[in-house]
């Protein structure tokens, strides 16, 4: 088959198509350094979100103490999965946004809902340029005595819920969160639940680590914990004697 090379010479001839592919200003069409799941749950008096501290380089556990949680304002926090460099760009965007609010000094600041909506528009605009910010973000907050928990993905999909998860957490964590959720959960119960979720994720998600950070938003403000390790237990019957393919078995 005759081939031609999409170098800059053919780019001019083949403007509309080549432009999409060989463009040094295009950043993330495939993620390189990635963070895994983020999970969050609303409680009666605040919100808990958590993420592990791993930034993977493909299947390599490259950065094992990388913080994927951010305090945005005194009432709003952010957790990010996906491409790490894009997440850091998003952190810069938010810092600029908050700095502008501070400089206006008019007592108007971003609410958790407005931060969520802002990120939704930014990520949607980038996907529409076929140059996405390759992230799944959880926005949590507690403002005006109201809990807020919302998610944004690389397509600009935005929605809110009582329990949310991204990445593998959607498959392994969400069912646990839905089962554990009650409107009258305390913050400490919420922390316990997300720890359990990350323990399960650590057992089955190969791009995860048992070192996590938990962020809470309550009337007292946003706090992000130091990273800590989860206790694990490996002597379950199913782990010690795994069933073989031909057994009557679960997956």
């Amino acid at each position: 088959m005759e081939l031609h090379i999409s170098s800059s010479a053919t780019k001019a001839e083949n403007f509309s198509s080549a432009q999409l592919f060989v463009d040094p200003t295009r950043h993330t069409t495939a993620p390189l350094v990635t963070g895994g799941s983020v999970v969050g749950i609303k409680c009666s008096d605040g919100v808990v979100i958590a993420a592990d501290t791993l930034a993977s380089y493909g299947s390599l556990a490259r950065f094992q103490n990388f913080s994927r949680l951010m305090k945005v304002t005194d009432s709003c926090m952010l957790g990010g999965g996906g491409e790490v460099s894009d997440f850091q760009e998003i952190q810069r965007l938010l810092e600029n946004l908050i700095t502008k609010d501070f400089c206006f000094n008019d007592e108007h600041i971003q609410t958790p809902r407005s931060v969520h909506q802002y990120l939704g528009r930014v990520l949607y605009a980038q996907r529409s340029r076929l140059n996405p910010l390759w992230n799944s973000l959880l926005v949590g907050g507690y403002a005006a005595s109201q809990s807020f928990l919302g998610v944004v993905d690389l397509y600009g999909t935005t929605f809110e819920s009582e329990v949310l998860a991204t990445g593998f957490g959607v498959l392994l964590g969400l069912p646990l969160l839905r089962k554990a959720y009650r409107p009258d959960l305390s913050i400490n119960e919420g922390i316990k639940i997300v720890e359990d979720v990350f323990r399960v994720l650590f057992y089955r998600d190969a791009r995860s680590i048992n070192r996590i950070q938990v962020a809470t938003a309550t009337s007292a403000g946003v706090t992000i914990s130091e990273p800590y390790s989860l206790e694990t237990k490996w002597d379950f019957e199913g782990f010690v004697n795994p069933r073989s393919t031909y057994d009557e078995s679960t997956w």
Binding site: L3, S7, A18
Partner: protein, 233 residues
């Protein structure tokens, strides 16, 4: 040197596929029925993604004014964006013209808005329902790029193939075994029908379920919304 497998393109194929696909299917089903003096516009609340359900409760409809409602299935990010655009245009029109936005105007606006993005479409399947200038209930069904028609009943989205034939049969009395008298459905009958078709579609379509928001539009009450629970499996 270039990695040939990445940059070498067959000469016969001048258009390469970009490696980021900007679309996502979040499913959802929307149904609208126009009656003599009422209109029903309904949309499921499940947000599906592959075999997962990231959330069971999203809003797929927008109340444009007290006689026109828009409901959309397809990609949720596009749905939200499209609704923002339409609501802004309706608001500007109503402020400037000091009169309500008519159903047929909304249909034209929606069609133009969708066709404006002909070569990078909103991945959305819309129904628009409400009361026309004469107070009669009518609905419009659209495809993703703005083709649409004014009808009495329409279904769009992932449950379309399951639901539309039943609506044709029950509302328009099409394909009846024996030609029966055409009787117009009352609001109550139409509501029961809507609940039935969503329940049935939920049994066979994995993207239809959880709940359905039903907007009832009448001249007397304006837009009234009720939520009907479906199975969560």
């Amino acid at each position: 040197m270039w990695n040939a497998s990445v940059v070498a393109v067959p000469a016969t194929e001048s258009i390469q596929r970009p490696d980021f696909m900007p679309y996502q299917n979040n499913g959802g089903t929307v149904v609208a029925i126009g009656g003599e003096d009422y209109c029903i516009v309904s949309a499921t609340t499940r947000l599906g993604l592959g075999f997962a359900i990231p959330t069971r409760n999203v809003c797929r409809y927008s109340i444009l004014n007290n006689r026109v409602v828009l409901a959309t299935a397809g990609m949720f990010a596009d749905t939200v964006t499209l609704h923002k655009v339409i609501k802004a245009r309706v608001k500007i029109y109503e402020e400037q013209q000091d009169k309500p936005f008519e159903l047929r105007s909304a249909a034209q606006l929606l069609s133009n808005t969708l066709y404006y993005r002909r070569f990078f479409p909103y991945y959305t399947f819309n129904v628009l329902g409400g009361l026309d200038e004469d107070g009669q209930g009518f609905v419009y069904g659209f495809d993703a790029i703005g083709s649409g028609e004014k009808v009495k009943v329409v279904c769009n989205g992932t449950g379309q193939a399951l639901i539309q034939p039943i609506l044709d049969n029950q509302v328009e009395r099409k394909q009846q075994y024996e030609n029966k008298q055409i009787t117009n459905l009352s609001l109550e009958e139409a509501l029961d029908l809507v609940k039935d078709v969503f329940t049935s579609a939920g049994e066979r379509d994995i993207y239809t379920g959880d709940a359905v928001d039903i907007c009832i539009i009448t001249k007397q009450r304006g837009v009234f919304v009720e939520t009907f629970q479906l199975k969560q499996d």
